[in-house]
Structure formats: structure tokens, C-alpha cells
């Protein structure tokens, strides 16, 4: 892969962006996180409420609660209460249409849960299996990234980059992305986002999951009280899951606006196209989308 810009065609050249282990572990993560989210929402549906503290029955109302009310005419109304404020969420939260067309009282709707019908034991089987997949994959990734220097070389921002965060935020808001040789490096916001996911969100969600286990609580009785108690751990687990969903939404958005096919190919085959002068990495002349010269 040493086709320099001078020998490249008008559309630039391909270089190897992602190593095989990173590509494999990325897609294993996609599968595991998707199933963990969907089976987790099925588990949540068994008790569609979140509490703060050591127990669910403390005399204080839950932080979040989804339930169904029946109107005098027999219609079900889905109600979601967040910090005391009530919302009618019929059709999505609290009450939604089952796959067979019947209205039913359930937290999250069928199309976002695994299994789609009410089946707590099966959801737990899926969840705990893919929790192992996530943890083993994550540990393999950490070992690989440390050993191959992927972490130090590609993910750790240097001082100059940290100073340019303001500029990077402005660039992201204007949907401007580096082109040419600069596109070979992750930008500083991207690096920070990945580092937060790797070292904060995923460890947090795993730890809060373990914190819900009554058996593992006996390793060091009371450790879960450090985050407020078992029900607080359950709440953190739920919040961390949606923060990961938020990360994925932004991640996919950035992939789409900075060259969807180019990025997707690089995460499948490893090869990423760097545009030449007058072209950016989208394979389009830059003047067509008002990019930087």
C-alpha cells in the first residue's frame, strides 16, 4: 500500500486503514451491543421502572415509570412518568401494538425487544450470553490495542490536538471533515469519543450489570452502595445503555456525512480511499459540496 498521490488516479488512492483484528472486533461489537440493548429492554419490560437507592420500595416514587391506564371506553393509554412529569406515550412506551395487532401493556414495543413477545427467561439467556461476548471481545480489543500500539498511535490525542478541540467542534458542526493525508488520522473529538466509550461507558455498564447480581454482591458486601445501591446500579446500567445508543447515533451520522461507503468499505475490507487535489474522500469534487479547498 504505497501508492502515493503522484501515481494515483484522479480519484486518489486506497490505503489500509483498519487492521483485520480491529475490523472483526468492531463487527462483533455491533452484534453484541445490538442484542444486549434489545434483550435488555425486554428484561426492563418485566419491571418497567427505574429507582434510586438500595431497593425499589423506599417510600420515594420511581425516577422513571411506564404503565398502562384503561379509559372508561376500554382503550389503553400508555403513560410514562419521568421525574414526576407525565407523558402520554401510547403506541411506543407503556402501551403498544403487539406483532399480532393487539394493543398491549408493555414498556418498550415489540420491534425493539428480543424476544419480541413477553419472555423474560429467554431475554436473560440472550443477554448473559452476549454480555460474555462483549466482555471477551472488549478484553481482546484492549490487549490487542495496547500490544499493537493502536491505542497509543491512533487513539491517544496529543497536546496539540487537545488545544484544537474548539476548532474541531466548529468543524463538526459545519460537517467539515479533514481531507487528503489529514483524513488518515482520527480527529480529536473522534478520539475522545472512542476513549470515553472504551474506558468509561462500557466498563460502567458491565460493572453496573455485575452490581445487580446478588451473588456477586457477596464478593464485597455493600460495594454496590458506592453508586447508591442496587437499584441505582440498575438505573446507571439503563442510562449507560442509552448513552451508548447516543454514541452509535452520532458515530453513524459522522460516517454518513464524511463518506459512508468509503468508511463502510474500510471497516469491511480495511481499504480507505484518500482523495487527491480537487477531490475529497467522498469521491466527489469538493466544490460540489462546498468543502474546504
Amino acid at each position: 500500500m504505497n501508492a502515493g498521490p503522484d501515481v494515483a488516479s484522479r480519484r486518489g488512492y486506497l490505503y489500509n486503514r483498519h487492521t483485520l483484528p480491529v475490523r472483526v472486533m468492531h463487527w462483533v461489537n455491533v452484534l453484541a451491543l445490538t442484542i444486549l440493548l434489545m434483550s435488555g429492554l425486554q428484561i426492563f419490560n418485566a419491571h418497567p421502572a427505574l429507582h434510586w437507592g438500595k431497593s425499589s420500595y423506599t417510600g420515594r416514587p420511581p425516577l422513571l415509570e411506564m404503565h398502562a391506564l384503561e379509559r372508561p371506553d376500554g382503550q389503553l393509554v400508555g403513560v410514562t412518568r419521568v421525574l414526576g412529569a407525565e407523558f402520554d406515550t401510547t403506541g411506543v412506551l407503556g402501551v403498544s401494538t403487539e406483532r399480532d395487532g393487539a394493543q398491549s401493556a408493555r414498556g418498550f414495543p415489540w420491534w425493539i425487544t428480543i424476544p419480541d413477545n413477553r419472555w423474560l427467561s429467554m431475554a436473560r439467556s440472550w443477554h448473559f450470553f452476549f454480555a460474555w461476548v462483549l466482555v471477551v471481545n472488549g478484553l481482546a480489543y484492549l490487549a490487542y490495542s495496547a500490544f499493537s500500539r493502536h491505542l497509543a498511535r491512533d487513539l491517544a490525542p496529543d497536546r496539540g490536538e487537545l488545544r484544537s478541540i474548539g476548532q474541531s467542534i466548529r468543524d463538526h458542526l459545519r460537517l467539515r471533515h479533514p481531507t487528503g493525508e489529514a483524513a488518515k488520522r482520527y480527529n480529536v473529538l473522534q478520539k475522545l469519543a472512542y476513549l470515553v466509550v472504551i474506558f468509561v461507558l462500557v466498563p460502567l455498564i458491565v460493572l453496573m450489570g455485575l452490581g445487580m447480581s446478588p451473588w456477586l454482591d457477596s464478593v464485597l458486601p455493600g460495594w454496590v452502595d458506592l453508586v447508591g445501591g442496587r437499584q441505582s446500579a440498575r438505573t446507571f446500567h439503563f442510562i449507560a445503555a442509552w448513552l451508548l445508543v447516543g454514541f452509535v447515533a452520532v458515530h453513524v451520522f459522522e460516517v454518513v456525512v464524511s463518506g459512508f461507503w468509503n468508511h463502510l468499505r474500510s471497516m469491511v475490507t480495511g481499504r480507505y480511499r484518500i482523495g487527491t487535489e480537487g477531490h475529497n474522500d467522498h469521491g466527489m469534487p469538493s466544490h460540489q459540496r462546498g468543502g474546504r479547498p
Partner: protein
């Protein structure tokens, strides 16, 4: 924009679409298949092995203070057993209740409530974690199961204690609730046959007159309305063969996670 016709991109687009369809439709088919739940079950074996590895026989569940008590202790599952036998016992304040201890023991026992209360007891404020996700904190007092088993003396081949209960799980009065624990849990210091909740006799809604407390596991292990304890070498021949009413419905036998 020749890229849209690039065959590799077509392939990727199709692969993505297929992955989505596979996820939605496939999970359902996998869940109801014969083989896939067994694959998923492999992780349960791993979870139990690791849980046992990082704890010891005497690792204690967290205990709480009176300030942490839940205002009312939630009743879940059976709130009042639909059985004439049970109603007759309850009507008489369980004066005629006997706990039968048998199976692989040197000395089978039949104990009245008064005799159970005379056994060495333990009082503990613990958190009850339901498989559904909620927790409640209650103060339990009961006979230490270890003390009872020391009198009954399990035979060397005994591996599990099976608890049979008075509450039928079917409307026709069949399928009495049952549960089982291994001897490690049976002899654990916090494993008790509770007869008091929050300093009052155990209410019917919470399992009167006797409810098992096995504090490092989820709520469905804590059998209510216990009438018989049988020591066995294997529970494969009992009911669905999975060691408990909910286990027979697909829930994990090791309920520590």
C-alpha cells in the same frame, strides 16, 4: 457518482439489509429452536463457575440497617394459595402445620411450627432481588437450615435440598411450587426457614408459615409456603427435571445473576 453502481457497494448494501432482517426475524426463530437456547445456556455455566470462583462458601450477602427497610414488603407470585388443605391450616393459625424432612437423610423429621421456632435461629435484614428487576428490603427471622440438617443428617450421596410448597401454580390445583438448592447454599449461615417478617409472624402473602431465604440468589429461589424438604442426589426425576417451578419454564437454576 459511479459509486452507486459499484458491485461491491451493492453487496455491502444487501449484506446490511440481510443482517437487519436476520436480526428481527432470526432471533425469534432461534429462541424457539431446539439447539440455540442450549448454546446460550453455555454462558450460564460460565457465569456460575466464575461466580463460585470469586466467592467462598461463606461469602455473605449484604445486610442492612432498620433505616433501609421497605415500608411494605411486596408480595409477588402467589399471594394466597388456592388449596383447601392450605386454607384449613391457615384458618387454624398453622397449629396443625408440620414440616416434613426426608429423602436422603439418616433421620427423617416431622416438625411443628413450635419445634421449628425452638431451633437455633438467625435474624437478618436483607435485600430481596426479584428476577423482574425490583428489590425490597425486609427483616427476616427463621430457623437456620444448617441446624435442621445437622439433626436430620444428610447421607453422603445427598447433593440437593428440594423444597415442596403448598401453593398450586395451575388453576386446577396441580403443579405445586417447588425449588431446590445445593448443599453449599443449604448449609450457608444466612439460609433460613423464615417464620417472621419485620418482627411479625410471616404474613400469608409472603409465604406463611415458612419461607426459604437463600440470600445470594434471586427471589424465585426463596420458596414460600414450604411443607416438605427432601434431600436428593439429583432432581432430574422431579416434575420438569430442572430443579424448580420457574426453572422448568426456562429460568436459570443458578439464580445468583
Amino acid at each position: 457518482m459511479t459509486d452507486a453502481t459499484n458491485p461491491r457497494r451493492h453487496f455491502l448494501a444487501r449484506a446490511l439489509g440481510a443482517a437487519g432482517a436476520l436480526l428481527v426475524g432470526g432471533c425469534e426463530r432461534l429462541s424457539t429452536s431446539e439447539w440455540f437456547p442450549k448454546v446460550l445456556g453455555a454462558s450460564e455455566t460460565a457465569s456460575e463457575a466464575v461466580a463460585k470462583l470469586v466467592t467462598s462458601r461463606r461469602s455473605m450477602a449484604q445486610e442492612f440497617s432498620a433505616a433501609d427497610l421497605s415500608p411494605t414488603f411486596r408480595s409477588n407470585g402467589t399471594a394466597e394459595p388456592d388449596s383447601d388443605l392450605y386454607r384449613a391450616l391457615a384458618a387454624n393459625a398453622f397449629a396443625d402445620y408440620r414440616l416434613e424432612v426426608g429423602g436422603l437423610v439418616a433421620r427423617p423429621l416431622s416438625l411443628s411450627l413450635a419445634e421449628l421456632r425452638a431451633l437455633p435461629s438467625r435474624t437478618q435484614i436483607t435485600r430481596h432481588d426479584c428476577v423482574e428487576g425490583w428489590s425490597a428490603i425486609g427483616k427476616w427471622k427463621g430457623a437456620r437450615l444448617a441446624a435442621l440438617l445437622e439433626v436430620a443428617r444428610p447421607k453422603p450421596e445427598a447433593r440437593y435440598a428440594v423444597f415442596r410448597c403448598a401453593d398450586p401454580m395451575e388453576e386446577d390445583g396441580t403443579h405445586l411450587y417447588y425449588e431446590s438448592v445445593d448443599l453449599e447454599d443449604a448449609f450457608h449461615p444466612q439460609t433460613i426457614l423464615a417464620y417472621e417478617l419485620n418482627d411479625a409472624p410471616l404474613p400469608v402473602a409472603n409465604g406463611a408459615p415458612i419461607r426459604l431465604r437463600v440470600e445470594r440468589q434471586l427471589g424465585y429461589k426463596h420458596a414460600k409456603y414450604v411443607t416438605d424438604i427432601e434431600l436428593v442426589a439429583s432432581f432430574a426425576h422431579i416434575e420438569g427435571g430442572k430443579g424448580g417451578y420457574w426453572e422448568d419454564q426456562g429460568y436459570q437454576w443458578f439464580a445468583g445473576i
